[in-house]
C-alpha cells in the first residue's frame, strides 16, 4: 500500500507501507547504524522517534531476541530503503518483526535524499500517513511532541540486578540493557531506580558508585534529576552516559548545545585527549556540551569526536565524576568503549581504598 512520510516542513517522501497501518508522528531521526536494528528499535532513546535506517537490504542478518535493549519496542515508526525478505538464520523477517511489534513502517523511500534533507534543514517532526494533503501537514506542524519522554521509559519501580561485586545504583533515564550486561560482566551488584528517585532513596541503597544512564529527549525536560546530581556528586563516584552526561554538565554550570549534525551512528571515532588514542564507538545523541563554557567549569575534556571536534567526554578535576556522551556499552557498534566501565570501577576502587572512604577528601 502506498504511504507517505511527511516532514514538518511539508516535504513529502512517497513509499510503500509495511508493518502496522496506523498513522504515526514523531521526531524523525536518521540512523547510520551499520547493524543492530533490534537494538535500535528497542533502545529507550528511540522513544517518540521515527527511525529512518540508511543501511541497505535491512534484515538479512535476522532478528535476535538476545539483542533487545528493553522489553518493548520504543520507536514510533521505521523508514527504510530496501529490506531483505528472508534471513540468514531462518529467524523472522524484518517486515514481519516490525508488524509483530505493531510499529508502522514505510519502505522504498529515497533515504539518501531524506538524509540530505535532514542534514541541511535539521531534525524535525514527521508523520507516516496514507495521504499527503495540506491538512496532514498542518496536523504535523500543530503537534507538540511530549516533553516527558524520560518519564515514559524510566522504570517505575526499583529492581535489582544482583551480583557479588561492587554496588552500583543506576538511575534509569532510559537505560539500555547493555549497560546492565556490562555491569554484570564485571560482577557489579546493581540496583536500578526511577529517574525521579530522591537523593535519600539512592543513599539508602548504600552504593559504591552511581550511574546516570542514557535516555531520550532534551536534558532541560528533567530538572529534578539535576538537583539529585547536585546533592550526590560530592558523596559518590559518578558515571554519566549520554543524557546522564548532559545532566551532570548542567548540574555544574556548563551549557548544552544542539549539534549541527546529530550523531546517530554505530561506529564514529572519538579521541582520548590525553593519549591521542582513537576508538570507534556508538553515538546516539543530538546535544553536546558547549566548548565555550568548559574552561570556566571544573571539568576537563577527556574525549572529542574526531569528525567534528565536539565534546564526547568530560571528567571533574576535583570530584570522582566521569562522563561520556557516546555509548560505551556499544549495542550496536564496536566494543572499543567498554574500557569506560573498567575505568569507572577503578575510580570506585581508588575511593574505597582511601582510609576514610570519603569523596570530599578525594
Amino acid at each position: 500500500m502506498k504511504r507517505y512520510l511527511i516532514l514538518e516542513d511539508g516535504t513529502v517522501f512517497p513509499g510503500v507501507g509495511f508493518g502496522s497501518s496506523i498513522i504515526t508522528t514523531g521526531q524523525l531521526v536518521i540512523s547510520n547504524n551499520r547493524t543492530g536494528i533490534e537494538q535500535s528499535v528497542t533502545d529507550p532513546d528511540a522513544e517518540g522517534q521515527i527511525l529512518a535506517f540508511a543501511i541497505p537490504s535491512i534484515g538479512s542478518s535476522g532478528i535476535n531476541r538476545d539483542f533487545y535493549e528493553s522489553i518493548n519496542s520504543q520507536c514510533k515508526g521505521v523508514v527504510i530503503g530496501s529490506s531483505s525478505p528472508s534471513t540468514i538464520d531462518g529467524s523472522i523477517s524484518f517486515g514481519d518483526w516490525i508488524a509483530s511489534l505493531g510499529i508502522p513502517g514505510i519502505k522504498n523511500v529515497d533515504v539518501r535524499e531524506l538524509s540530505k534533507h535532514i542534514a541541511e534543514h535539521g531534525e524535525m517532526k514527521a508523520s507516516i500517513m496514507d495521504t499527503h494533503d495540506e491538512h496532514a501537514i498542518d496536523q504535523i506542524k500543530a503537534l507538540v511532541l511530549p516533553p516527558d519522554l524520560v518519564k515514559r521509559v524510566s522504570t517505575r519501580q526499583s529492581y535489582p540486578n544482583p551480583n557479588m561485586g561492587i554496588k552500583i545504583v543506576v538511575v534509569d533515564l532510559g537505560l539500555k540493557y547493555s549497560i546492565l550486561r556490562q555491569l554484570s560482566y564485571r560482577d557489579c551488584n546493581s540496583v536500578i531506580v526511577n529517574y525521579n528517585a530522591t537523593p535519600e532513596e539512592i543513599e539508602n541503597l548504600h552504593p559504591d558508585g552511581i550511574i546516570f544512564s542514557n535516555g531520550p529527549g532534551s536534558p532541560s525536560d528533567i530538572p529534578q534529576t539535576i538537583k539529585t546530581i547536585k546533592a550526590l556528586q560530592k558523596k559518590y563516584p559518578i558515571l554519566g552516559i549520554g543524557l546522564g552526561n548532559l545532566l551532570i554538565a548542567l548540574a555544574n554550570d556548563c551549557k548544552i548545545i544542539k549539534l549541527a549534525q546529530p550523531h546517530h551512528e554505530s561506529s564514529l571515532a572519538v579521541k582520548e585527549v590525553a593519549s591521542g588514542k582513537i576508538d570507534f564507538v556508538n553515538h546516539n545523541h543530538s546535544y553536546t556540551i558547549d566548548q565555550k563554557y568548559i574552561g570556566s567549569s571544573d571539568f576537563i575534556v577527556t574525549n572529542i569526536c574526531v569528525a567534528d571536534g565536539s565534546i564526547e567526554g568530560i571528567r571533574h578535576e576535583y570530584l570522582p565524576i566521569m562522563c561520556v556522551l557516546f555509548e560505551p556499552e556499544a549495542a550496536p557498534g564496536p566494543n572499543d568503549g567498554y574500557y569506560v566501565f573498567d575505568e569507572f570501577l577503578d575510580l570506585i576502587d581508588s575511593i574505597k581504598f582511601q582510609d576514610d572512604g570519603g569523596v570530599d577528601q578525594w
Binding site: 547510520n32 529515497d110 539518501r112 564514529l268 579521541k271 582513537i278 570507534f280
Partner: protein, 798 residues
Amino acid sequence: MVESEPHSILVIGPTTSDKNVDLSTAMYDTVEILHQLGYKTSVIVEDPTSLLSSGKYFDRIVVARVTGEHVLQYVHEYHPDAILPTVGDRNALGIVSSLNGKIGSVKILGSNYMASLATFKRELFIQKLTESQLPVINFVSSDDEKEIYSFIRSIGFPIIARRRYSNRHSSGWTNINNLFELDNFMALEDIEDSRIEIERSIRGFSEYSFTVVRDKFDNSALIGTIEDIEPIGIHHLDSNLISPAISLNDSKLQKMRTASLKLAQAFDIVGVCTVHFAYNHKTNEYFITEFIPRLSEETKFLEYATSYPIATAVVELSLGYHLDKLQLDGGRGFNGASEPFVDHITSRFPQWSAKGQKYLGPSKTSDSSIVVNGFSIEEVFNKGALNDKLNHNVERREQLSKLDDDQLFEKIIHPTNWMLDVLIEALRRKFEMPVLSEITGINMPYLTVLKNLLDISNLIDGDEVSTDNIERLVEMGVKGVGQSELLLDSDDVVTKTVVKSKRSITVSNRNYNNQNFFVTAGIKSDLKLSDKNKIIVRSPIITSKTDIMVRQFVLMQLVQSIAQNGLEAIVIGREPWTAPLSSREKVIEIDDPYMEMKSLDLIPEESIFKVIDFSKHLNEDDQVDNVFQINAKQLKNVEMPGEISLRAMVVTDGNNYLVPSVIYRQESDGHSFEISSYNNFLPVADRSAISKLIEQELEDNNEVNVFNFEFVRSNDHWVVTKSFEGMTDDIIRHELASSVHVIDTLVKLILGNKIEDNKTLEEIFNNQDNRYLLTVDDKRYNLLDFESTKEQLAKLLK
C-alpha cells in the same frame, strides 16, 4: 614530511604475471603522494607501462625482473632509506620476507618480515594466531607421511591439501573427502623439496573479508567488509562479492572486527590488512583463513565501494602519519579515523572470457570482474551477474531449460560460473529453497532475491507491469532494458531512475567530495553540474588485464587533458572507473550498466561539446557528427613477412598531421625487439617515404582523428600492412615514450585547434624524448638512453 622518517624510498612494483591483480591506480596514487610529500621515490618494475605515467614522479625507474636479487642489488647500489612493498602484490611480500638480515638499516614500510613471511608460511601464521588467541583452523605441514596420516586421524575428513614447493609456490588446494582420495593425492608425483599441507576442511562455511588500516600509534579503523555469496571452497575472486557484508548481525560483525584489529596488532602491521574469515552461521564457529598485509583486489574494491582513499592512506600511515591526520593532494587534511558508512551496496561479479561453463573450486579461474552499485541486492544482481548484456544470461537459461532435473541437479552439486542462472532455473522448477541453500552453501537471503527476480521477470514477460506492482519492480532494480521509460512516464511511482553519489555518507570527511555516481532508483538525483561545457567519455567494458591498463591510462590522460583545456569531463560506463585520487574530485564518473543516462536527460544536450566513445559500435540514437570513436577500427590488414617493421601513431586535424611516435620492431634470431620513439633514429629517406605513405592513407580523411599504421620493409621499400582508425593498445607505449602528448594533442584538435600548415618533416616527426623503451619478446622491458639505444640498434642491424 614526518621528522626522522626516510627520505628515499624504493617501491617494489608489480610483475607482468597475468595472475597479479591490477593495482595501477593504487600505484599511481602511491607515488604521487610520495612525490607531493617530498620523498625521493624509485621503483623497480618489469613493465614500465604499468606505472601509467611518464616517470615524472620518480627519481629512478629500474626496469628489471622484480626479484629479491634485483631489489638487493638496488639497495647495495643506491642505499634507499626504505622499501615499500604494498603495491607489488604477493610477489613483493615474498621478496620482503627473503630480505631479513640482508638490508641493514633499510626500513620496510607498510608490512614487515614477520607479516610477510606468515602469509607464506602456514606454520608461522598458525603459531602467531594461536599465541594471540585468534581463531585458526587445525593445520599440519610435513613431508613425513606418517605424521600426515596421524594428523588426519585426529581431525577426520573432509580436509583440504596442497603441495608447497621450496620456491614458495604451491599446487593450489584440493578437496579430499575420504581415505581413497587422500591416497590418490599422496601418490601424485613427489617433487623434491616439497611439503604437504593439510587443513581441516571448512567447505560450505560463509566467507567474509574485513579490511582494516592501522597507524604506528596503534589506532585502527575498519574500512569495509566484503561478503562472498558463494561459500568457502570456491575461490574468493571467483565468487560474487557484496560490500558491505549484509548478512552479519552486530555480534558477528563486532567479533570479526575485533579479531581483524587484533591480528593487525599481533603482526604490527602499519598500513592496511585484509583478514579473511570462514563463518558457520549454524554453529557460530569462525576461523581466520588468511590475511593480506598489502594493497589487493579487496582494497581496490573497497575503494570503489566506500571512496576511502586506501592507497594514499596506506603510504602515509606507513610513513608514520597519525590516522586522523592524513593528507590528500595539495596538503589538504583527511581524517582517516573514519569507518565509512555506506547506504548502498557494491558488488563485484567475476567475468570469464570464454562463454561456456567453468567448474569452480579453490583455484581462481575468472579473467576479470565487473563492479556495480545499487540500493538492494536485487538491483545489483540485475545490474551485474544477471545482466544479459554482460553475461548472456538469456542464452544460458535457454540451455539450462533443456536439461532434465537430474542434469540440473548435477549442476547444483558441482558449482560452475553459471550458478546463479542454475539456481534461477531450479527455482523456476520449484526446487525447495532450503534444500538448494543446504547443497550450495548459498545463504537464504540470496536465494529469496533470485526467487523475487524470477517472479519479476515472469511479470514482465507476461506484460503485467502496472502502477500496482511497479513500485516493487523499482525496488527490485528493474531499471533499463526498456523499463526505465515506464518509470519516467509514470507520475505515480515511488521512485524513478536517477543518479546517486557513491560517496560514503558518514559524518566524517564531508569536505572530501569525490564525484562518483551510479544510475539507480530514487526521487532526486545527487548529480550537480557546473556551467562548463562538457565532454562525455563513454568508457568500455574490460575483459583482460591489458585492457584494464589501457583503459586506465587513456581515461586518465583524456580527463586530465579535458580539464586542462577548460571543459568538464564526464565519464560514463557500464562499470565504474576510479580515477587516481588527484583527479577524483574533478572528474564526474557515472556507472550506467544499462546505458540509460541519455534517456534520463540529466545532462543538458546543449552543454555537451562532444562525446568520446570507446565502443566499436555507436548507439542507434547517436548524432554521428557529435561522437568521436576513440577505439581502433581496423581499416587494412595485409599479411606480409618482413624482419623489420614500424608502427606509427598519427594525429590529424583533417588537413595536416603529426607523427609524434614511431615504434621500431625487428625479428632476429627467433626473438623480437621493439624500440619506442624511433623518430629520433629514423633516417631522412625513411621519414620521407613513410610520410608519403601516410599522406596516401589519409587522402580521404578530412576530420580530426588518430590513426595507427604498420609499415613493413620489403625489398628496401616500406609498405603499409595494417591501418587502424582510432587508438590501439600501443597507446601507452606511444604516449609514455613520446614527448608530444598524443592524447592531449587529440583533445586540442577535437576542440578545434589546427596543426600549422607547411610543417617540415622534422617538425612532423618531432620527438624530444631522451628515454627509449626496449621491449624484448613482447614481455621483457628496458629503459635506455640515446647512446645505449643507438648501440642496440646498431647491434640489431648487424
